[in-house]
Structure formats: C-alpha cells, structure tokens
Assembly symmetry: C2
Homo-oligomer: 371 residues x 2
C-alpha cells in the first residue's frame, strides 16, 4: 500500500533520474550506504556524562479523535523540548554550549557531517565544553501538537486552518545554502562536501514552525530555562534559530554567558533602546560565510547579504551601547567558500576553532554545568 | 497567537488541575526541571566513536504546495531512517546491538530514564557492545512525508484521506504500560519510576505509522540493511517494533545475529513453515514483564497477556523447527512488578544484565562493527 499516491518516486523513472543526476551532480539512488563513510577519530572520546532530557512542556486535554482514535481521550504533554547532551571528563568549569538547529532540520545538524566527519557537537566536547543539542519544539524528538491534523481528518476543523509543513527541495538548497548558484554546480571554492549532498537531504524533516507552534515560540523560553538550569551557557543558533539566542538572553540575561549567531535568517532591527542595553551586557558573535550575494530562490529572503547587513546594523547598535558584539566573516580573513551549513563544511573545525577562541577570549569563566 | 485553539491548556484551570493531580498522582505543572534529576555515573564513558547517520531513503518529486509553499517544488528524500550510535573503546569484536522504539515514541526510549538514570543505550555500551539507536521512519529525526497534509490544506487532497496521528493519553498509559490498573494508582510492586511519569509523557510524539508510512514499513528493510552494514547485529525491538527484528531477519538472516523482542505488541502467528525454518537459524529472546492481565484500555489489545501468548506460540514453532527461542519473563524468576517500559524501570539494569547474559551465551562471536 502506497499511502501517499500523489508522490512520484524518482526511482521508478530511471532515465529521468540519470538525466537529473547529471544536472544535480548527485546520485539518483538515495540508498547510499552512509555508515561506510562515517569516520572514526584517532583518539577516544572520554565523557563524564551523556544522555538526554526535556525542558518545558505543558499539559493539554485532548479528545479521543484528537489523539488519533486508538485509545480514549485525556491529557498529553506538548511544547516540550528534547535535549541531548555530552559532558567531557575534566570539563568542569568550562562554559556549556547549547547548539540549536535551523529550519526543516533537527539537532542532527551538529552531529556527524553528511560526509562522515566529526560534527561540532563532539568537537566542542573534545575542546572541553559540555554540549547540549535540542530539537526545536515542534520538530524531531520534541514532537508537535497533532490535534488540529486529526481534527481536519475527521471534519471537526476546516482543512484551510491547517498549518503548513515546510521542506526545501534539493534543488533550492544549492543556491539557498550557497553551495553553488544552481543545482549541481558548486562554486570552485565551495567548502561544502557536495558529493554528500544527498546525505544532507536526508537530514530534512517537515517544519511546522511557520504557523504550527504557539507564539512566542516555546523554544525561546526553553532555551532560556536550559541556560538557567545550566547555571549559564553560551547559546548558539543557526539560520532560522540564529536570532533565538538574542531572544533567550532577553528572557534571562544572567544565564546567557555568550551568544553565537551562525548565519541567522535575520537580526532583529526593531529592538528598543532598553533591549539593546540588556544585549550590550552579553558578548555576541555573529558568523557568516561566503557567496552571500547568491540569489537564494526563496522569495522571503532574496539573498543572505540582506541578513548579513541586518546583523551589521545590530552589531553597531550594541557597540554604541557599550557592548561587545562582533562579526566573524571568514572571507575577510582569507578563508573562502564557506556555505550556509558552515558547521558541516569541509573546514568546519577551522571555523569551530575561531568560535572557540572567541569564547575563550570573551566569555567569562566560572559558569558551568549543573551543580 | 495560539495556533491550535481547540486545545484546552490545563495550566489555565488550576482547580481542575489540582483535582487531577490528586487523581493522577502527578504534578499539574509539566515544566518540571528535569535536568536537575539527571544522574552522573561514577566512572567516565570511553568511546571509540559516536555520531549519527541515515539508512535508506528515496527521492520523490513534490510540488511547491506539497513542500509548504515557501520555496519552489523539486525533489526531497523521504523514508530515511536516522540512527545515533556509540562504539565503546575496546569493544571491537563484540556484537553491535540495534535498539528500536515503540509506538508514539522515539529512540529517546533507550536513553536517560524519565527519573534521570542511565538508559540501556549507554549501559550496553559500557558492557562492551556498540549500540545503534534509530528513530523509526516517519518519526523523530527520521521525519515523515508531509505532502498529503499540505495537499489537504490547499484542497488538493480530501481531508478524510489524511492518515491519523496517534498519541496515548497520560491516563491510558497507566494501565496500557502496566504501571497500575488505573491512573495514579501504581501496583505496590511497580518497578516503573511513577514519580517521573510526567517525564515519560514528554517522550510522546505523534505517530503516523498507522496508515501514514508505506507498506511494508521502510523501517524493516532499513533495520536489515543496518545489520548488513554492521556485518551482523543483535536486533532489539520494543512494543510496536517488537516483531520488527523477526521481519528484518527474514530479509537477511545472515546479518541477524540475534533477536531480542521486548514486550512485542504481538508475535506473528501466520509464518510459513519455510519462514519458521529461517527464524530457527537465529537465536531469539522474548521479554515480558509483570501484570500482563491488566485491561489496557486500548480496544485493539485488551491485555498484554494475549501478546505474551502469541509469542509463546511462536517460540514453540521455532523450537519445534530446531531453533533456539526462549521467553524471559522476570516474574518467573521472582522479579516482580516490571512494566511495559521495562528499559526504564527502576531495575532496568538488572533486566539488561539478563539480556546481556543471553547474548553472551547464545549469540556467536566474530560479528562486529563495520570494518
């Protein structure tokens, strides 16, 4: 039984597939044996602790139909945030780092890269930092609130009230994530491991946060609460979540020891003077890669250069208020070709080192994991 | 903006909440500070490798509307299976163990328990086994195919064609997972950490596999392919996925070094003589806890005793064909009170030891992680 007959499986049309593969520079067969590409480090990873837990969540009462009609109605938890963590042996006293993923992705973004190299999660741990990787509320292991979809199915909610689920096509990812200006044509200096772009495609999950999670997004308070529970943390966001660290810092500035905004979709330009004063108390680093003028193919953001410029404006405001905010643009240091997925780029550890140096220089010691 | 107005947030009705809390024996406030309960082991965990990757997946072509209308239409990957892994230092040559979760859950099932103790994932690693924890196709970090939901939203698919999303209410979990015969009333000998039952509630995610993933379920082939890529593995399933190891073994018996069925929803009773002959070549252990006669409150499975009996029947057939299949029922050994969530029970490591002893005794050496 093919439950979703509207889908056209490309495997069924091999000739079209071969033509596409030529255009896209990728394999038609998505069943690549990815495990074989996963690399083993030279030295073991020694962890004081690892595991997972949740932050936030609230109880709601739902009907039998809203719960999918397998069992009776009752209460469930929604809007909780899943967090996986690793604490290095001997890392006590080093500031924890929380890494939040972007749109249509999960915490997987920070793990093993598409071509099997070490992700930032493990690298930061090996550099002594406890690392916490959430899935945004509404996605991955955090789940989402399914009631409205079941209500539409049974006719108790109008279909046009459904929030939409976003995914990016493999084709639009090329310009939007700046691997190249069009599918299958990487920039000569591209740092993204484009031979493994099909593995990035597998990281994509439907994203309901464009209308399907409460406002304000519960992830913001969950991040602030996580930083509080950690007795202070560096908050790192990426793309869609690039500005989340700012919002979390405004909820509890004392717990935000440092903010790292990696390729944020935009930096808010409408903060009040009072808010800027608060943000001026928190060291902030903003990171943008190369080829920012590439037309993205996404209407709401014609180019990442616009995002870059909104962040330059924010940096200016924070600095004028006496704060420490700075831009890390690798191209300005002669490091060319970094993409939007900079944590997965071939030189991802080189970029990580620059961020780690900034943390060492700017973020106060004495914060640490939970006591 | 509350995007799902049909939901009644219990926090808003405190008096009702207090009454419910009395009935349920749980906190009204789901915003428990779970991190504080997470325990740190006495000795460090030394890993040769850890990370994540995908197995399987196929390309489909989808329209702009099917992709949520943020960017243009194109190809995406669906039906891939996310896998997180940990390989212990010095574990070479020990058979890997793959742990698959049950309905409305994710790989989180095997991680840190709701009350903050070590999960089976880490415990099996500490006992020398490489451990691989997938999210079933259609759930968690594996994602799902969102096209039909977006089509219903825009009117290009009828709402009644939508697959349903399942979650279990907190109330029905009590009898269905056999913490007690009714909500808030644990069995005197219950092994489940019922004071942390709200943390289990947070592990729940919507489950679309009742009609929303292809048939046969892509997870089955992905598990078989994973075992093949690992050069042999013990496949462990739980509840909904309890019988998945059997199905995966039938796809490639050589890669299935052992099968552990933890509280399977049912054991198939319609295998052919030929299939039983194949399964007779693979050591199989089936695990069931206590209080199996409890009425579940779920119509399709009145009690877990029925599941137990279907598995007794399968064990009989495999043994008659000369195979090694056995039941591990802790109550028969004087270990009382184990629940359906046996990997999270207070004596979870005691049960794990029994399974590890079985692996040592029954599963051939010489299989191992990828070369």
């Amino acid at each position: 039984m093919e439950t979703q007959p509207s889908l056209k499986v490309c495997r069924a049309s091999l000739l079209v597939g071969i033509a596409l593969a030529t255009v896209l520079g990728t394999s038609v067969n998505a069943r690549a044996q990815a495990l074989k590409d996963v690399q083993t480090p030279d030295t073991p990873l020694v962890l004081k602790a690892q595991g997972s837990f949740f932050v936030g969540g609230e109880k709601v009462e739902q009907s039998q139909g809203e719960l999918g009609d397998l069992g009776p109605g009752g209460r469930i938890t929604v809007n909780q945030m899943y967090v996986r963590y690793m604490v290095p042996q001997g890392g006590d006293g080093n500031v924890p780092v929380v890494m939040v993923h972007g749109a249509t992705l999960t915490g997987k973004s920070w793990e093993t890269t598409p071509d099997g190299r070490m992700g930032w999660d493990e690298y930061f741990v090996r550099k002594g930092h406890p690392v916490y990787v959430p899935d945004q509320v509404g996605r991955g292991r955090s789940g989402f609130n399914q009631a409205i979809f079941n209500n539409a199915r049974t006719g108790s909610a109008p279909p046009n009230s459904l929030p939409r689920w976003i995914r990016f096509s493999d084709e639009v990812v090329w310009p939007n994530f700046r691997f190249g200006s069009k599918p299958g044509a990487p920039y000569p200096d591209s740092q993204f491991p484009v031979t493994a772009v099909d593995e990035l495609s597998k990281q994509g999950v439907p994203d309901v946060s464009f209308g399907g999670v409460p406002t304000p997004n519960p992830t913001l308070k969950a991040l602030s609460d996580l930083a509080t529970q950690l007795n202070g943390a560096v908050l790192m966001g990426h793309s869609q979540s690039g500005s989340f660290p700012l919002a979390a810092a405004l909820l509890n500035p004392a717990a935000a020891k440092g903010l790292v905004l990696v390729e944020p979709g935009r930096c808010p330009t409408d903060y009040t003077t009072e808010q800027i004063k608060v943000l001026a108390g928190v060291p902030t680093l903003i990171v943008f890669g190369d080829h920012r003028d590439t037309p993205t193919g996404i209407g709401i953001r014609p180019s990442w250069q616009l995002s870059f410029e909104s962040c330059q404006e924010l940096i200016g405001r924070i600095k004028n208020a006496g704060g420490q905010a700075e831009m890390l643009a690798p191209p300005e240091r002669g490091i060319r070709g970094n993409s939007h997925m900079i944590m997965q780029d071939k030189n991802n550890l080189q970029i990580a080192d620059l961020i780690l140096q900034w943390i060492d220089a700017r973020v106060s010691k004495g914060s640490g994991e939970k006591k």
